[in-house]
Each structure stands twice: as C-alpha cells, then as structure tokens.
Subunit: 185 residues, 2 copies
Amino acid sequence: MGGMERADAARNRARILEAASRLFAERPPQDVTMDDIAKAAGVGRGTLYRRYPDRASIAVALLDEHERALQERLLRGDPPLGPGAPPAARLAAFYAAMVELLEDHRHLVLGTEVGRSRFETGAYGFWRAHVRALIVAAGAPDPDALVEPLLAPLAPDVYGRQREALGLTPERITAALTRLAALLA
Amino acid sequence: MGGMERADAARNRARILEAASRLFAERPPQDVTMDDIAKAAGVGRGTLYRRYPDRASIAVALLDEHERALQERLLRGDPPLGPGAPPAARLAAFYAAMVELLEDHRHLVLGTEVGRSRFETGAYGFWRAHVRALIVAAGAPDPDALVEPLLAPLAPDVYGRQREALGLTPERITAALTRLAALLA
DNA sequence: CGCTTAAGCGGACATCGTGTCCACCTATTG
DNA sequence: CAATAGGTGGACACGATGTCCGCTTAAGCG
C-alpha cells in the first residue's frame, strides 16, 4: 500500500497466510486460535497481530484474489455473467458463480466469521452493488429493500448448512437459486 | 419436565430470565457476559450455568412463548396466515408475521447467537417445515432446495442490518418479502 | 413439628484466548 | 559500514468461560 514492504515482512506475511490456510482446512475455523496460527507460521504473536487484528481479516486476505477474479468477470466478462444479458439471466449466472466460489473455499468462507462483520467486507459491498444494479435494470420497485433478501441465501452459514446438514449438491442449490433469479424476469 | 421444580429454583429461573431480558435490551447482547446476568439476577455463576449453558439458550427461553403463539396461528389461525389461503398468500402472511416478531424482539433475536446454533432451535425447524409445506402445496419442484433461500432473508443479522445500517422500515421489508412470496404463485 | 435427604446454591478457581507493549533485531539506504 | 526506520517475538495483564465442591434450604415423612 504505502511505501515498500521489507523482505522479512513479506516472507512472514506469506508464512502466516499459508499456515492459516492449512489450519482452516483441517479443523473448524472458530477452533483455530490466533496463537495456533502464530505457532504454525513460526512467528510471534506480535508479528501476527501487526497485520491481522483477528481471524476474519486473515480469511478475507485469503479470499481476496478469488473474489477479485469474479468481480472482474462481473464487470467485463462475457454474458450472461458480464454485461449484455437480461437481468434475470445475469443474476442466475451470478448465483452460479457464487456457489462455485463458496464450494471451492467453503472452509475459508466460513472462517470469515458469521455475524455482522461479514457485511463490512469490501467484497460484500461489491456483490450488493452488483445485484442492486441488476434489480434496477429489471425495473423492479424498491431495489434497496429487495437486494438483501436476494443476497441472503449466499450467506456462508446458510450455504454450509445446505451442503452439510441437508446434504444438497451444489447443482441443486444452484437450480433453486436460478428459480429465485426468475423474480427479475 | 422431570419431577417437580423446587420453589427457590423456580424463583431463580424467573429472576434470571427477567435480568437477562433487561440486559439484552439495554446493550448489544454479545457485550452481556454470563457473569453480568448472574450478578443482575442476584444468583451465583453455578446457579446460572445449571440451567443455561450459554447466552443463546437464555435467549431461546425468552423467545419461546412468542414463537409458540405464532406457531399456533400458523397451524390453526385464520387465513391467510392459517390454513385455507393459497400458498403464495400464506407465505406472504408468514413473512409479515415474522417481520413483526423480529421487530418486537429484535434485541433478543440477535442475542440468539448468529451462526449455526440458530439452525438447531426447535423454532427454526418449525418455520422450515411450514415453508416447505407451502412450497409443496404450490407444486414447486425440489422443495428441500428452495426452502432455505426463502427462509434466509429472515436471519436475524440480515434483518438487523436492513433496519439499522440501511434504515429500512419494517413496512418496506415486508413489501419486498411479499414480492419474494410471489414465487409460489 | 423435628428430622432426613437430596436438590439447589454460589463463589472460588483453573484455564484459555485476546490484545498490548516494549526491548531487541535486521533489512535498507546513503 | 554506520544510521535508522521498521519489523519481530514473547512476556504480560486482562477478562470470560465453565467446573467443582462445601454449604444451605425446600420438601417429604414419621
């Protein structure tokens, strides 16, 4: 961000992310303590806290690149994900892409801390703006009130429950969301 | 449940619930510690933990009666909330009733701990079964995959965000959910 | 009534996770 | 190679959790 990053700092950042990724994968994220991550990364607590004040911020950092890739496709990719298709089709494509993302990084995304903190990430703001624009394009009334209900099914805990407790496949989940997207038709 | 409840036990239970209700109302639930509740209720930690192993179970106990009242109306009340109306209308009525419930007990319902624990309450199972039955009655395919997306907008954190961060009124939220309910038409 | 008994009570305690702070260390620059 | 800004790591203080056990008291019985 600011000036240059020192070599040792960069190396430690990489170590931290790598260690966190491994730990999050092997057991429930809320059972991974900041101390565990510091230990596994071979750095001290102070070093860890310097960059990442809590678990959520680590998960966000890990997800960052994947989310950016999807954001790029939404803005400039081919239809129906990118511009050009009718709103309902674009929403359905967005749902499908999000299911893919959730599926690929399920453990990570669950580490992004349930609760309000989820709404504060830049990524959430982006998804929200995107869906809101689709609602406007579809000419539906009161987009601000409709956007959260359309986004809610993508909440990590809801997705996780459908996959685990209910045993649904990503395909069935996507199909159901596609029917939801038909609201904009 | 089991045998008889001793008089002092009953009195303490009442004190605990009353104190918790007050504390949850006056500040964010996650800032209320078990210790605070014990202090405010004038009982020891041990007494508190005997009945309620965590905050969530206290919130659940407090909500219990209100939820039961709504469940009763769903099963045996007048249409469109109760049986007799078409599925889409009943779902819209259910949404409206849930918004009312969430609004009346917002602080409590947020205390019911975000995250998976929410799915484990008996009340959630009931809402789920109800909505699922409406989907079936409407003849929509794969009710098991559609039910969670239709229920997700009622998640306490989603509702709380719409009310607080976005400043939506309960009326606008209900209106948007009514449009969602139209899926079953 | 008084006695017995078992349920209930409450607070001290051990444990754990968090976040901060500061003395030391090391890349980087001129 | 010296100066220094920034980075490092672990000790520490704090606060919350959940358990344990000696004491108290309600309820049943002779």
